[in-house]
């Protein structure tokens, strides 16, 4: 790597699409989810801070970080929890160097696997470890539910990502199992042999994403009212700010990934064109609306119901598409 490339990598990591951009996007995604949810519930949603209340998520984060106190018990390990959250956050953001959105892009065979571990597995493990560092009976119940859901949601999410990437990169014109395959996404959707597989993967992706980010109907690990706030009961002040930020960043990155592997990113335009940028934004917003719609029209499942529904609507489509892809 030359000095210019190293500087560009540092800028990509810190500014765009790294730390500052992805945090802004995550907070804006939270704003959209809150605003759309409010419309469904006949409320106004965030309205007062910034134009149309767009700065409300940032002010919520800022208040938790700067003003609120950290409440701890004699069993709490606050520094360990903070470190795990920061690790989850940095691994998620570090994975963005593989996304075609980045001005400096690292590309290799099987880079989707590295991306998956960094942006999906490590943030999940970090959240579990941080919750365990702040123990309590409600926290333990929340973690056990979270782990139960992950046993189905994570494999389904993994399969729903890997299969489209395999289909788009098997032609040999791009690196095998690389996120560069997004250029072949329109062609893959138009192929009658692949369209069913892509559709099944998309369903598995949406359902497992809903479970990963613990939106209704899969919000049983936090289950407000029933087990207070589940695994996040003992988080407060700056620690709660970090948790919420990690959650939103994970959601934003998973949605960006979906935009590329299912919807083809900026295609048919190029990244550096007005059409490309607008189309990328439209596709992202469409995915946000889809997950917010599911969040608002469904009630919370009990843990056993949640596991069965996840099995039916995310793991089974993922398994069927795996079998189909091995046949075609």
């Amino acid at each position: 790597m030359t000095i210019d490339q190293t500087m560009l990598l540092i800028l990509s990591t810190i500014i765009f699409p790294g730390l500052f951009f992805i945090i802004s996007l995550a907070l804006f995604t939270q704003y959209m989810v809150r605003k759309i949810s409010a419309r469904y519930q006949n409320r106004m949603g965030p309205s007062y801070v910034g134009a149309f209340g767009v700065l409300q998520p940032f002010y919520d984060f800022w208040k938790l970080l700067r003003v609120k106190e950290t409440v701890k018990t004699r069993f709490s390990m606050v520094k360990t929890a903070e470190l795990f959250f920061l690790m989850g956050l940095t691994f998620s953001i570090g994975a963005l160097v593989f996304l075609p959105l980045s001005p400096f892009r690292v590309c290799s065979e099987f880079d989707v696997l590295i991306f998956f571990y960094m942006a999906s597995v490590i943030p999940f493990i970090s959240t579990v470890m941080a919750s365990m560092a702040m123990p309590g009976p409600y926290t333990s119940i929340g973690i056990s539910r979270m782990l139960s859901i992950a046993t189905i949601a994570e494999p389904a999410f993994f399969a729903s990502i890997i299969i489209p990437v395999y289909l788009t990169t098997r032609g040999g014109d791009v690196l095998f199992m690389s996120l560069s395959g997004y250029v072949n996404v329109p062609r893959t959707w138009l192929n009658p042999l692949y369209v069913v597989i892509m559709l099944l993967c998309f369903i598995a992706y949406i359902v497992s994403l809903q479970a990963k980010v613990m939106y209704q109907p899969f919000n049983i690990p936090e289950a407000e009212q029933e087990i207070i706030a589940g695994f996040e009961t003992e988080f407060s002040g700056p620690l709660l700010a970090l948790f919420r930020l990690l959650h939103d960043v994970e959601l934003a990155i998973s949605l960006l990934l979906g935009v590329y592997i299912f919807l083809g990113g900026p295609l048919p335009f190029r990244h550096l064109s007005i059409g490309g940028v607008l189309l990328l934004i439209v596709k992202y917003v469409v995915l946000v609306i889809v997950i917010t719609l599911v969040k608002n029209v469904m009630g919370r499942y009990r843990i056993d119901q949640a596991l069965i529904q996840l099995f039916k609507y995310s793991l089974i489509p993922a398994i069927i598409s795996s079998i189909l892809v091995s046949i075609v």
């Binding site: 560009l8 003003v67 609120k68 409440v71 018990t73 903070e82 956050l89 590309c107 065979e109």
Partner: protein, 118 residues
């Protein structure tokens, strides 16, 4: 836009480098900005004192059996009604029947392999 095509090992190395840089920056920003106010309290138990629970976290065994009892009800029923009935005969019957099946399968597999060659 610059695309750097590398082998997977190099890709991991570069991304870990990016993570290290990010970790240093976020640690610095977080500890510079975070509120220093802390308050020590009891574990939150909906207003009850800590004495109402024997331990602060349920044991792993409790979580495991809780999960099996609620989600894998059919497995739990088999374990309770057929294996752990309190009678040693029932336990021996259950275990030996499964061992018998495994033994039978292994004999069939090895015989087939010996007949058709390895």
């Amino acid at each position: 836009m610059v695309t750097l095509k590398v082998d997977p090992y190099m890709a991991v190395a570069i991304s870990i480098g990016a993570v290290a840089l990010l970790l240093a920056i976020t640690l610095l920003l977080y500890y510079m900005l975070k509120s220093r106010i802390t308050r020590i309290s009891d574990v939150y138990l909906s207003g009850e004192p800590e004495s109402v629970v024997s331990s602060i976290s349920p044991s792993i065994a409790s979580l495991y059996w809780g999960f099996i009892r609620r989600f894998a009800r059919s497995i739990f029923n088999i374990l309770v009604t057929k294996v752990h009935t309190g009678s040693l005969h029932d336990w021996y019957k259950f275990i030996s029947s499964w061992y018998g099946i495994l033994l039978l399968i292994s004999i069939v597999v090895f015989t087939t392999l010996m007949l058709i060659g390895w």
